[in-house]
Structures are given as structure tokens and as C-alpha cells.
């Protein structure tokens, strides 16, 4: 079964506005979605900007990650199984993240 990567983008500035109860409810919704049988795994990215490595004239160099100009940043990823893009989209459409954020869907090469 082909695998798809969901990259979840979010606007962190909305988080502090949530109450403890709302935070818990939000977590519970994500957790419930994450328990579906076709979800392979989920990973949260650390909150830094990472590094960008580039080869320049045969001398690879690492620089600090790009500062995102947009409000939305990549927060985490899930891997899911689906037979094709249609099914992958259908399985992602009701992800609670879409109440406020963006999901980028990419098929993994198999």
C-alpha cells in the first residue's frame, strides 16, 4: 500500500489564546484521528528553524534554517497509507488540523 506524508502547517500565534480546556479538547481530537488504522506514525518537529545545508563549489556549508516569512510554520508530519491520492485526500479531509491550519499531502516513492 502506498504511503503518503502529511505536512502540517500551523500559526503558533493562535495557541496562547486557547484555554486549558480548549487545548485538551484539541489534543484529544488529534489523538483520535491519529489512532485510525491507516495512520502509520506521527512526528513533531522541534520548534527551531533547523539548518540548511548546501554544497557550494564542492564545500558543503550549513546555515541556520530559513526564517519563515509566513505566519504558518511546519509543525509536524504524519505518514498514512492510502491506495491513491483520492483516498489519501479523503482520509485527510476531516483532520482536525484543517479547522485552522494547512496540510500538505505528498506521496512517498515506493
Amino acid at each position: 500500500m502506498p504511503q503518503y506524508m502529511l505536512a502540517l502547517y500551523d500559526d503558533p500565534s493562535r495557541w496562547p489564546k486557547l484555554s486549558p480546556e480548549e487545548m485538551q479538547k484539541s489534543i484529544e481530537k488529534y489523538m483520535a484521528w491519529g489512532k485510525r488504522p491507516y495512520v502509520v506514525q506521527g512526528k513533531r518537529l522541534a520548534g527551531d528553524n533547523g539548518r540548511v545545508l548546501k554544497g557550494a563549489n564542492g564545500k558543503p556549508r550549513a546555515t541556520d534554517g530559513p526564517y519563515s516569512e509566513t505566519k504558518e510554520v511546519l509543525g509536524g508530519i504524519y505518514l498514512i497509507e492510502a491506495k491513491d491520492y483520492d483516498e489519501a485526500v479523503e482520509r485527510t479531509l476531516d483532520h482536525p488540523h484543517l479547522d485552522h491550519g494547512t496540510i500538505e499531502l505528498r506521496q512517498l516513492y515506493s
Binding site: L18, P20, E22, Q24, E28, M31, K35, R44, Y78
Partner: protein, 444 residues
């Protein structure tokens, strides 16, 4: 799996209901005790940081085994970081960090001594939040925010106020804490009695706010009831509990038991007498009777005792016809004797008079109240009067009363109730409905 199926799966990821809210109250109380009440903001920010971290990580990596302990630890680490960053310039930084570090080691386990310490911290926070130096509105907001883990917006929604007003109350409360140098020390002797009264009053106020009928019956209002019950039980379980604390918990549990039966599917109010008693929460009734029994040990009789006894008499009756109205009337007499002449209590008493001695006597009891300025434009007084007049077949007077009641400030379900009643005035005689006033609105 469809979204509907997902919802019915009721998968909460293994989190206890209201874990964040309750743990927030606990951790903030603990941090505030260690850091000092003037740094309540830092305590709240540290807990907020821990919950934000959970919000970011748990959806992807899952909930840690000890979720409460995780939040406790991360909040403490956030506080330690803030202190190390030199958020304040004091000599005792090292001692603070040491105490927070020690707490972090304890807070994740199930050490019963440390559990006791945390409950004690919450208790201290309730007592400080209810200090008489703080205005009552601010007391309520502060208790709900710090110990209850409610947000400003949630408090505002529950009290039908706007966010800015609630935020203002919190700012004022915190300023009073700083200016009056309030501490989290437990008061002693006469101070303790006074503070306990203030705490009980605040808790009962929160409960009644949640209990009174309002438009839409927002769930947040029920949350207020259960939070008040939780705070009451916290007090009742402590060493400073007196019989009146137990009695207050009994009142709240017995009244909260009726919440599921109070609104029908159309959102209309169902009066106590018309409620389907099978829908009363038996667990809460059992809890109420338990606390009521405990409250009877000792010779103290408070207004909460009388209220609890009234609620217990209703809960004990298996059906409407077996409600012991003479006992209830006697209890209202006692309540009036203890709490002074609260006009709302007197109005509820008048309903009991009508039940025992007939509608004419009830009307006479109400007549004494109609001059009371506190009850002017109070829809329930007019509604009760209209109802009793209707029972006496004085239909035109009854209709005039109910029309006047509709002019008063009341919420939409109450308005619908009045209109139904008004329709009865024009309809065929002898439709003996129920008496309003005991609609479950707790007398103040």
C-alpha cells in the same frame, strides 16, 4: 472511518476529563506558593508554557504515561528557566531553584505526602483568592482563573460579561494581592472562620451562577456548577472543614443532580415538579446524602444545612405526590431565621405555604413581599403570584400578573414558560400545573 464513527468511539487519548483545567489549578497554586503570591503571573505563564508544549507534541507523539506529572514537571522547568534568566533580581534565586527542582522530582510520582501538599496548596490559593480585601467579583474571577483553570474568555462567557471586564477584575485582584501583601498562609482562629465564610460564599455564588437558567444553557455554565462542587469537596476534605462546609457540598451535589432533567429537548425549562426523576443523577444524590449525613455531626446549624435539608427532602421523595411539603415549609422557616429575611428565600417559602395551606395562604405570604425593592421587577414573584391566582380561578388577575412578568428581565426559556402559563389562563379551567419558584433556582 467516518467522522461520526470517530466521535462515537469516544477516544480521548487516555486523558482524564478536565485534566488540563484541574492540573492547571494545581500547578499554579503550587508554583505560587513556592514563588510567592506576588509572582502569580509567572506561575500562570509557566503552566501555560507546559500546556502549549503538550499541545504541540502530544498530537504527534502521543500522551505520555503520566500526563499530569509531565505537565507538572515541564511547568516547573519553565519557572526555573525564567528565574535563571533573571526575571527578578533577588538573592533567593538559588533557594527558589532548589525548591522547584526538589518539587519536580516529587511531582511526577505518587508520593501521598506530596499529594497532600498539593491539595494544601490549592486550599491556600482558594483562601487567598477569597480574601475579604478583594472585591467579590474579583474573588470569583480569581478563584476560577487560578484554582479552576478557566480562561478569561470562559469566565466571561459563563457570566455573560465581556472579556475586558473579567480581565480588569483579575488585574484588580492581583494588584490587591500585591498592595495588601496578601500571603498564602492559612489564617487562624477568628480569621480562619471569616475566610472560610468568604470562601463558602464565593463557591456558592459560582454554583448559583452556573445553576440559574440562561439562554442556550451553555455547557460552560454546568462546568461552573461542577467546579464549585469540586472546590467545595476540596475544602470538605481538608482538616479545616466544619459541618457547614459539608452542608454546602451536600446542597450543591443534591441540586446538581437535577441538572440533566432540567431542560427538555426543545431547550425549554422543566420545573422541579415536572422533571423526570429518573433522569436525576443518582451518583450525585448519593454524594449529597453522604455529605449531608457528615454535616449533621456536631451541633452547628448553618443556612447551608437548611438548604441541604430542603434539597434532601426533594431528593428523597419518589414522586411529586410524596414530596413532604410540611417539612419543606418548616425548613424554609428555619432558613429565614438563620439567614435573615432574604426575599428570594421568602418567595420560595411562599410556594411551600401554598402547597401546605392552599393557594390563598400562599398569596397572602406573597403579598408581604410585593413591597420589597429587591423583588421589584423580579419575574418569578409575578409568575408565582399569577400561578396561584390561576389556581384560584381568578383568571383575569392571573393573566395580568403573567403579562407583567413577561415585561421583566428574564431569559427566553423562562419567557416561553410564562407564555405557556398565560395561554392556560384563557384555556379550560382546572389544569393544575406546577408552581414556579422551585424551578431549581437556588434561593440566595
Amino acid at each position: 472511518m467516518s467522522p461520526a464513527e470517530l466521535n462515537t468511539a469516544n477516544d480521548t487519548g487516555g486523558l482524564l476529563e478536565h485534566l488540563f483545567r484541574h492540573q492547571s489549578g494545581r500547578v499554579v497554586a503550587h508554583l505560587a506558593r513556592v514563588l510567592g503570591p506576588s509572582r502569580l503571573d509567572l506561575a500562570e505563564e509557566s503552566m501555560q508554557e507546559a500546556m502549549l508544549r503538550a499541545l504541540q507534541v502530544w498530537p504527534y507523539q502521543g500522551v505520555p504515561d503520566n500526563a499530569a506529572g509531565w505537565l507538572f514537571r515541564v511547568a516547573h522547568n519553565a519557572a526555573i528557566d525564567a528565574i535563571r534568566r533573571g526575571r527578578f533580581l533577588e538573592q533567593n534565586t538559588g533557594a527558589l531553584v532548589a525548591e522547584l527542582t526538589r518539587a519536580t522530582a516529587n511531582g511526577s510520582g505518587d508520593d501521598p505526602d506530596f499529594e497532600r501538599q498539593l491539595r494544601d496548596d490549592e486550599l491556600r490559593m482558594i483562601f487567598m483568592s477569597c480574601h475579604p480585601a478583594i472585591a467579590r467579583d474579583s474573588r470569583v474571577a480569581l478563584s476560577l482563573k487560578t484554582v479552576g483553570g478557566f480562561s478569561v474568555r470562559e469566565i466571561a462567557r459563563a457570566f455573560l460579561a465581556d472579556d475586558a471586564a473579567i480581565a480588569q477584575r483579575l488585574v484588580r485582584a492581583k494588584r490587591q494581592i500585591r498592595e495588601r501583601e496578601l500571603t498564602l498562609d492559612m489564617p487562624h482562629g477568628a480569621d480562619l472562620e471569616q475566610r472560610l465564610d468568604s470562601a463558602l460564599e464565593t463557591i456558592y455564588f459560582i454554583f448559583n451562577e452556573g445553576y440559574s437558567a440562561h439562554e442556550g444553557e451553555d455547557l460552560i455554565r454546568q462546568d461552573l456548577c461542577f467546579e464549585a462542587l469540586r472546590l467545595g469537596r476540596l475544602l470538605a476534605g481538608s482538616s479545616i472543614a466544619t459541618p457547614r462546609v459539608q452542608a454546602l457540598v451536600a446542597v450543591m451535589a443534591l441540586q446538581a443532580a437535577r441538572l440533566p432533567a432540567r431542560i427538555d429537548e426543545a431547550g425549554d425549562l422543566i420545573l422541579l415538579e415536572d422533571q423526570d426523576r429518573a433522569r436525576w443523577d443518582q451518583g450525585l444524590i448519593a454524594m449529597g446524602f453522604h455529605y449531608f449525613d457528615v454535616s449533621m455531626r456536631g451541633d452547628q446549624v448553618s443556612e447551608y444545612h437548611a438548604q441541604a435539608a430542603i434539597a434532601a427532602t426533594h431528593a428523597r421523595a419518589e414522586s411529586l405526590t410524596t414530596v413532604d411539603w410540611p417539612v419543606i415549609l418548616e425548613l424554609y422557616d428555619q432558613l429565614l431565621a438563620i439567614s435573615g429575611a432574604s426575599p428570594i428565600v421568602a418567595l420560595n417559602r411562599a410556594v411551600a405555604v401554598a402547597k401546605v395551606h392552599g393557594p390563598a395562604e400562599g398569596l397572602a405570604a406573597i403579598a408581604e413581599l410585593s413591597g420589597n425593592p429587591q423583588l421589584r421587577d423580579y419575574y418569578l414573584l409575578l409568575a408565582v403570584r399569577g400561578h396561584l391566582l390561576l389556581e384560584l380561578e381568578r383568571r383575569e388577575e392571573a393573566a395580568a400578573c403573567l403579562r407583567a412578568a413577561l415585561e421583566c428581565r428574564c431569559c427566553e426559556p423562562e419567557r416561553r414558560f410564562l407564555r405557556r402559563k398565560l395561554a392556560q389562563c384563557a384555556a379550560a379551567p382546572s389544569s393544575r400545573g406546577s408552581v414556579p419558584g422551585l424551578a431549581g433556582r437556588a434561593p440566595h
